[in-house]
Structure formats: C-alpha cells, structure tokens
Symmetry: C2
Subunit: 363 residues, 2 copies
C-alpha cells in the first residue's frame, strides 16, 4: 500500500473512507441538520472556543479568503507576518481585495519574532489586523502563536490565523489565544479528505464584520451563521466530507485532544531524529520545528526530485518537494492526522535505501 506522507491530503482511516461512500441525503432536511449541529459542537470543543465555528465548502485557501473578506475593507492597513509560502499567500489575498499591506517577513526556516511584531505595531498605529500563519507548511516551522497573539492584543488588533496544518494536531486554544478568525482544512490533521474549510469567528471578528466592506457573497460569515441557526449551510455543502468529518471527530475525541497533540509531538520528534540519523540537515530551526511537517535540506549532493521519484515508484512512499524558491532545495515529510511512529520509521528506512541512489554522499 502507498504511504502518503505529504502535509495533506493525509491518509484516511477505513471508517472515515466508509463514511465517504454513504448515499446522499437532503442537505435541507432534519437528518443533515442533526449531523451539522453535532459536528459543529465537536469542532468547537477541538478549536477550544465558545465562539462560532462554520463549515465552508472549499479548500483551506478559500477559508483564508473568507477570513479576509469578512473582516476587512479596501484600504485597511494590515500587518502580514510571513515565514513562508502560505504566509505570502495569506498576504496576497488581502492585497488582491484592496488591503494596504505592511509585510513583516522572516527568513524561511525561521519562526516569527514576537518582538518584531510589537515594533511593527508600534510604528504604524493605522494597522487594523495582523495576519499570521500558525504552522508554515512550506518550511516546517510552527510560530509561537501565544507570544504573537499576546503582542497583537496589547495593541487590540484583529488577529487572523492560518491554522490549516496545525489545528487538531498542535495545541491551539482559540479563545485563550484570542484568535479572531482561525482557519483549518479537512485534509490535514482531521484525517478527512479535502473539500471543507473550518473557521472560527470571535466576537471581535463579528464587530469587524459589521464594518467590513470587501465584497463577499459565497464566503459571507453572516449567511453561514443565519443558515446554521436553522441547521443548514447557505449553499449545498460537500455532504460526504461532512459525513467523514463526523466519524473522524469521534475518533479524535475518543483518543483525547491532549493525547492527539502528544502523539504528534512524538511523531514529529521521530521524524526529526530519523532525518538527522541519516546525515541530513533539518531545514527549520529546531526550536520551532513543526510537529506536523518536517522540512529537510537537500544537502550533500542529494537530488531531491530524483529521490522523490524513486521513493514513489519503487517504495510507494510519497513525500513532498519544496515550493517556489525552495523547489529542489528541500523535501518535506508530512506527519499529521492518522500517523504513528512506525509509519515514520518506514519512511526513514526507505530514505536510507534511496538517498545514495539519488546522489547523496554521507559525510
């Protein structure tokens, strides 16, 4: 069997896949209303929030767009804290919809520095919102969101958090950390196929929503809220993925959120130790290395594209390459969702065989 070890989509347990093959039901009937209410309640528990949580049919990027257009107006000044591809994407969306960006970029592979965020907020009082990536999938770095959030709230700014590849896998207490909009995607730690973005919305985000004038229709949180009150979504939802999510949430709650986080921490550590044991350098600074994805520098002559191809074709191990300026320079091991230490051991064993075949010289 193929071992899919990319940072999403992630492999789904059998029970989840079985739920995907359930026959369609009326999305405006009592049966769906019941499932939607149940899923929403459980998601609030896992988001650790008493605020609103909505299911949006779309990719995680759609959820990012939703966060922007529901809280901002054209001309609003936004501080964009970016440590990689997905931080840049979040900023690009805001810019497309007319926000004035103040980019605060950190070297790829490093985490954002909360003190630099404070300096930026101090320097420009017009800033209305701060965009931040909790876990940067492109570099394998987890930002210290608690510290950043604390700074953002010193200045009472809106905090929009891309938690697509962290929520449900790495601790992110949405209310305690005052996240105003938090976005995740079904195909990450949730062990569910892609197709759903899940977002939380705080009271402060609702206040911003009232004044926000960026154009929105499909992603409008107000529509999501008014339909949820009657047990529906505004537009036909991706029903099968909601069925699957319902099963996966029960599995997560049964394992226990703290245990899920601990498992990810263990698996993340196993990935990092395994990579280092092969003589390959980690790309991310280790103090902020992600527990859901490990980025590895293609050092010592390694042709990472050749390596990925051999792994795929001869070992059925699927890893991810680098994105944009990291293309060919790193590769990435996804370890979020339905994953154990022995899954990572299998990846490391395959790498051990393939690395020398792909030009790698151990020193």
């Amino acid at each position: 069997m193929e071992q899919l070890r990319i940072p999403g989509p992630t492999p789904c347990p059998d029970e989840v896949l079985q739920a995907m093959s359930r026959q369609m039901i009326n999305h405006r009937g009592p049966q769906f209303a019941q499932i939607l209410a149940d899923v929403t309640t459980k998601l609030k528990q896992l988001f650790q929030t008493k605020g609103d949580v909505f299911l949006l049919t779309g990719s995680g990027t759609g959820g990012l767009e939703a966060a922007i257009v529901n809280t901002l107006s054209p001309g609003d000044t936004v501080l964009s804290v970016s440590i990689g591809v997905f931080g840049e994407r979040f900023a690009a969306i805001a810019e497309k919809f007319g926000a004035e960006l103040i980019p605060l970029r950190f070297e790829w592979g490093k985490a954002a520095d909360a003190d630099a965020v404070r300096q930026a907020l101090k320097a420009e009082p017009k800033i209305k919102a701060v965009l931040v990536t909790h876990n940067e999938t492109s570099t394998g770095v987890t930002n210290d969101l608690a510290a950043i959030s604390s700074v953002v709230k010193e200045f009472d700014k809106l905090l929009l958090v891309d938690a697509i590849s962290s929520l449900g896998s790495i601790n992110l207490p949405v209310d305690d950390w005052h996240c105003d909009v938090t976005i995740t995607g079904s195909q990450k730690g949730w062990m569910v196929p892609p197709g759903l973005a899940m977002v939380s919305v705080s009271q402060q985000a609702w206040q911003a929503h009232q004044k926000a004038r960026m154009p929105r229709f499909y992603w409008d949180f107000a529509k999501a809220k008014s339909y949820l009150e009657k047990g529906e979504t505004p537009w036909t939802p991706v029903i099968s993925v909601v069925f699957a999510l319902s099963v996966a949430l029960d599995m997560i709650l049964k394992e226990g959120l703290a245990n899920v986080f601990a498992r990810h921490a263990q698996v993340g550590k196993a990935a990092r130790e395994g990579v280092k044991s092969l003589g390959l350098p980690l790309f991310a600074e280790e103090s902020h290395a992600s527990n859901t994805v490990t980025a590895v520098a293609a050092a010592n002559g390694l042709d990472s594209k050749k390596m990925l191809k051999i792994l795929r074709e001869e070992h059925q191990v699927i890893l991810a390459g680098g994105q944009q300026k990291l293309d060919g320079k790193i590769f990435r091991i996804g370890h979020l969702g339905w994953v154990t230490e022995s899954d990572i051991e299998a990846v490391i064993s395959a790498l051990k065989i393939v690395l020398p075949q792909a030009g790698f010289r151990s020193s």
Copy 2:
C-alpha cells in the same frame, strides 16, 4: 431505501459511491494529473466545447461567483435576466462585487422572453454582460437559451450562463450557443456528491478576464488554467468527488449524451403527466417546463409542508419545498441524474396516498 427526489443533491449509483471511499492520493502527483486530464477531456465533450473547462472546489454558487469576478469590473453594467430564486442570486453576486444591474425579471413560473432581452440590450448600449439561468431550479422552468444567446450575440455581449441544474441532463451545446462562462455543479445531473463546480470559459471570456478588475484569488480562472497545464489545481481539490466524477462521466458517456437527454425528457414528461393525473396544477408554464425538476402548485387545500413531512417520515420519499416567496406555495420533484420513469412512478404513487392526508381535495 430513501428516495431522494430533490433537485440536488441527487442519488449516486453504487459505483460512484464506491469511488468516494478510495484512499487519498497526492494532488500534486502523476496519478492525480492523469485523472484530472481525463476528467477535463470528458467534461469538454459533455459541455460540447473546445474551450477551457475547470474544476473548482466549491458549491455551484461558488461557480457563479467565479463567473462574475473573472469577467467583470466594478461599475460594469450587467443585464440580469431572472425568472426565479437562482436568477436573483446570480444578480445579487454581481451587485455585491460592484456591477451596475439592469434587472429584467419575468413572472416566476414563466420563461424569459428573448425579445424583451433584445429591447433591453437596445435600450442600454453600456451593457457589458448578460446573466441568464438556463434551468431555474426554484420554478422548474427551462429558458430558451438558444434564442436568448442568439440575441445576446447580435449585440456581441458577454453571456454568463447558470447551467447548474441543466448541463449534462438537458442539451446545452456551449460552443454552438456561444456561452462565455457556463457553470454546473457535481450534485446535479452528474450523479456525484456535491463539492465541485465545473465551469467552461470561452475565448471572449478570456478577453474579458484580461480587463476584469473585480477582486479574485480563490476563484481566479488564470490560476486554474496555469495549474491545469501542469496537471494540478491551484488549491487542494476535493479529490474524492473528482474520483466519483471520473466514474460518473464514464457512465454518462457509455449511455450516450443524446440518450441521457432523451431519458431526462421522458422522465420529465412522466413527472408532469403523473402530477396532472393527481389533479394538481403544474407551477411552470408547460411549454418551458424543465426536464430536471417539476414544480407543483399546492392547490385545492394542500398543506405542502405537512405533505413533505408525511412523505419523508412514512414513505421515505424526499421532495423539496418552495423557496423564498414560493415557500409553502409549491413543492418540487427533482428528476435529474440517476433516475428512471419507475422512480417517478413511485413518487406519484406515494403522493396519491399522502395528498388526501395533507388536506388536498380532488375536485
């Protein structure tokens, strides 16, 4: 087993549901690239177009938003031809994104009149695009799109077509009818769960795209095109629904497009004849009655909400109610996708029993 006879989501054949339970694969790998290329080629055949066709992860309404934001600029004048809820929705999206609307509304239950479209286009040369619903799901009316298109192209305007509940079930030769953007949704005649919008884009639409300044990111056709060229989608797609669509397209092609249309025409006729045999009036004018959804007036004392509840609870037959101002005034039978005449006979038989229980007095 439940008989789901709403105008989408529609029931899915077993083979399609089985495809939904397939394990995840890398959406940026060669396997997905192959499926995406194959599905796109087959969709072009069924859209009857040589233009571009894209898969967008989202509901049909997302596809409508995509059509608007990819071709228009704020301030553009748009003629909105509306015969029901979905015509109004298409217009509302355009307005939200800053278009100047010229509404051309027809009585609900009636089709749009091509000559009135001509008069409107003659009266206002500033009109840039015409929005039209091919099949209005809320009223069960199919517009004469060939006639409307011919008028729109007399004036060389852009034609944006909501074909969500018609394409693949009712003939719509996209190129012959010069549709610039055509939108459909997986959960309609395609026999696939919801989660995918499919859109065609003509050369004229691409010319409009170059000048279009409405903000867009998630729905951007240019991104869809550049990624499709390398066998990918810009954002993580709803992989399972693409698997399912791949199976369903083969079924449709095997049956043959002309046969699929003929079957829908037969089933539509059976629904209308059946309803009339019960002594209930059709809501839509019969000359333009839809072959995918039949709207029925709740006449002669019929409490349609009570009827829908009894049908659901005691007969496992799921029909749809009326929307907005038609709430409680009509009910609707969906007959698109995986449906036969005997399925409709079963609905009519159940109605025969339930109607008198819900206040209906046959005259």
